[in-house]
Symmetry: C2
Subunit: 443 residues, 2 copies
């Protein structure tokens, strides 16, 4: 809420949230809609939504003048869901929170990231014309707070939705850990025979430049109309609003803090593009739906005692022992280059080799990936890698470190260490490709 001082000032001028106001501060003049104070904003910062769609914040103080231009329109939502067209494909929309919900939040003054279906369809009236949508808010959580507990819940709800007749599932999700959740679903959902599409937005939906609506429309199109039987991520392909892409969940990574086209395929190509008119163009191989494939099941067991460790110069290898002492069963190492780590004995206590050997003797499974992200680890080029390979480290091919982490935790959830180790470098859900193509670097 705004400060007492500001609220008194607003009251004195009969200014309400949503009114068109003018804010003058020295040479600067802002005209726009008065917004509610943002959660992160200062209580004295007046937030104005400009005509461009962007928000401006002006710190209130001496010399700042506020004038009301006109009253805002009250937003009135329809009282109930719009009627869904029974003849359209059935799509289940699982809502988990994240930036995509934030416009609705401020308009209603509602709780962080909550959304009601009638509000959603008010803001995106295109959705009911694409699919017969069943809305289901299953949690309300920022992406960075997602854990395997939520992965399990989402997997179960997805399986239920598909077994109850949905032809596809759309899952809204915060973008930060969307790649992790997509990987978890790709491994957990067994006998998947339908599109499962995660989507979200990089720019909050109270900004003119928000990608929320187009991403959600494109994701719904894929769930309603594609024959992709994989877990994918659907986000902006470019930073202009011309097309979205569907990326294989196990091969997608958020590569930019803020750009709308932050999600990129790593060592992979997009599965498909979706244009503004909802047309889907398939551009690479993917698993296709087949008729009468039986029920989807969710094998959601996950071993939380799995760690992802980044290795770097001067890093302390003894942290492996810290985890071993706490009963950790699996490690994904994010090594340098082709999968290296310090093994020299020249700097006492800095070689990872004895700790790796000890962890393996303790039965732990250790997988090697690369912090370069692109490319493939390879134990056969250099001597230091041979040492690690001989010690029993599994080289995870062209798998992303994050995907390898989720995979190992999932494998250890329902296998003993030996069996999990055997499966770690075998492809299960498209996470390992035989060959990295030349045109898959930095696209």
């Amino acid at each position: 809420m705004y400060s007492d001082k500001l609220r008194k000032l607003f009251d004195a001028g009969s200014i309400k949230i949503g009114d068109l106001i003018k804010v003058e501060s020295g040479d600067l003049i802002f005209e726009g809609e008065l917004m509610p104070k943002t959660e992160a904003g200062h209580e004295d910062a007046i937030v104005v939504k400009l005509k461009s769609g962007y928000n401006a914040g002006v710190m209130y103080g001496d010399g700042v003048r506020i004038t009301k231009i006109s009253s805002g329109k009250a937003v009135e939502f329809p009282l109930s869901n719009p009627k869904m067209a029974e003849n359209l494909p059935k799509v289940s929309l699982l809502w988990t929170g994240g930036t995509i919900g934030s416009k609705i939040e401020y308009k209603t003054g509602g709780v962080h990231m909550t959304v009601k279906p009638e509000e959603l369809f008010y803001y995106i009236p295109e959705l009911p014309s694409i699919a017969n949508i069943k809305f289901n808010q299953i949690c309300e959580i920022a992406s960075e707070d997602m854990s395997y507990h939520e992965w399990q819940k989402i997997a179960e709800e997805t399986a239920d939705a598909l077994n109850e007749g949905a032809r596809g599932v759309v899952i809204t999700h915060g973008t930060d850990t969307m790649g992790f959740t997509a990987s978890a679903l790709a491994f957990m959902l067994q006998n998947l025979n339908a599109p499962v599409v995660l989507t979200g937005s990089q720019r909050s939906s109270d900004r003119g430049s928000s990608d929320a609506f187009l991403n959600l429309i494109a994701a719904t199109n894929i769930a309603a109309n594609s024959n992709v039987a994989e877990v994918g991520i659907c986000m902006h392909a470019s930073s202009s609003d011309d097309r979205m892409h569907l990326l294989r969940g196990v091969k997608a990574r958020k590569m930019h803090t803020s750009r709308r086209d932050a999600f990129r395929p790593i060592n992979d190509r997009p599965i498909a593009y979706v244009d503004m008119d909802g047309r889907i163009s398939y551009v690479s191989e993917y698993k296709k739906t087949v008729k009468a494939a039986g029920k989807v099941t969710a094998n959601t067991k996950f071993e939380p005692k799995t760690a992802l460790l980044k290795v770097y110069p001067n890093s302390d290898p003894e942290i492996m022992q810290y985890y071993i002492d706490r009963g950790y069963r699996g490690f994904i190492l994010e090594g340098t280059g082709l999968g290296h780590m310090p093994v020299s004995t020249e700097h006492p206590g800095k070689s990872w080799l004895p700790y790796i050997k000890n962890a393996i003797e303790n039965g732990a499974v250790i997988g090697m990936t690369s912090q370069t992200l692109y490319g493939r680890v390879n134990a056969n080029v250099y001597r230091n890698l041979r040492l690690l390979g001989n010690a029993g480290v599994v080289y995870c091919e062209d798998m992303l470190p994050e995907t390898a982490y989720v995979k190992l935790g999932w494998l250890l959830g329902s296998h003993d260490n030996k069996a999990a180790k055997e499966l770690l470098d075998k492809n299960i859900a498209g996470e390992i490709t035989k060959r990295v193509n030349y045109d898959e670097f930095l696209v």
Copy 2:
């Protein structure tokens, strides 16, 4: 060395290393030069250098036939350095090991990554025509084994070389941690007034496709002829041999395990391109040399009790306490998205917030970066970030996690924690830029 069995076989056929041989194994026939056994290779694997420049390995066993086609030419190195042209610019070449030295290694049968200057100039006869080169092998170490001890030595040798009259310095280095070393030098070298260029190779120099020679030639050109007063990395700009680029060391990252163009500028543009003829084209702003700038000094103090921690779903925040208990003074967190980490109290023991607060109460300096690599962290967008910002976490702008780690360790080497914290998000060597340009994503 090859196995006894193979050596007997070679002796019986009068086959020596370097001879042209034919190896037949079932349907496969290889013709090429017999290579010495590689360090990492099996002692029964016959390594043949094909005409394509690539090596093939054939495991010796039943049905494998080896025939000598012709004797190889013995490689004879000149007995001493070629005479250097006194009129050319003086460049100091500091050799540290890495892939770039591996051709010389196999020809001489010498020790891993060692090189003698007469061998170097034999293989790259262009070098003495570019600069009056003083060769100095200062260590012999794989990139993954580099530590701050080597950073210190390289910084001191670089300062000495420049103060003794070199107009530029070239440093050969393994590629895996080249970005870390370049960052360390950028911070350690004070009053730098000359080009300091790290270079290396992604493909070992015994392969036809090696990038070693062109990279070293381009780096020498920059050291001899450019007016760049920064620490840079010079590697292939594209995977064809048409041009090399000079990247700002603090903004460069190895982004592919094996491609020759693996080094990319992150949130930055290249400083310059160097073409095959040695022409340097400057393409962005950089610090320029000035006349009579005085001596370079090396402030090499580094606090090894600095950690780089990657945060991910289900990650264990208690490891911060592990480091605090061991006297660690600084942490760089590699958060998600704009700089997030789990702070929800819903999953007991999984919020990082209490551990961060405790570390800060213990006086530790904590910097936030993003695992997206591209883009800028920002504490002002979401509520969870405000919690971290309020706790005293320093948001490291658009700095790479690896660069931020090196910077913090270096700051803590010669400052108390409070002063180091103040400097962490202030630009020192080009590691923080005010604005990320649109065309700096995935290039």
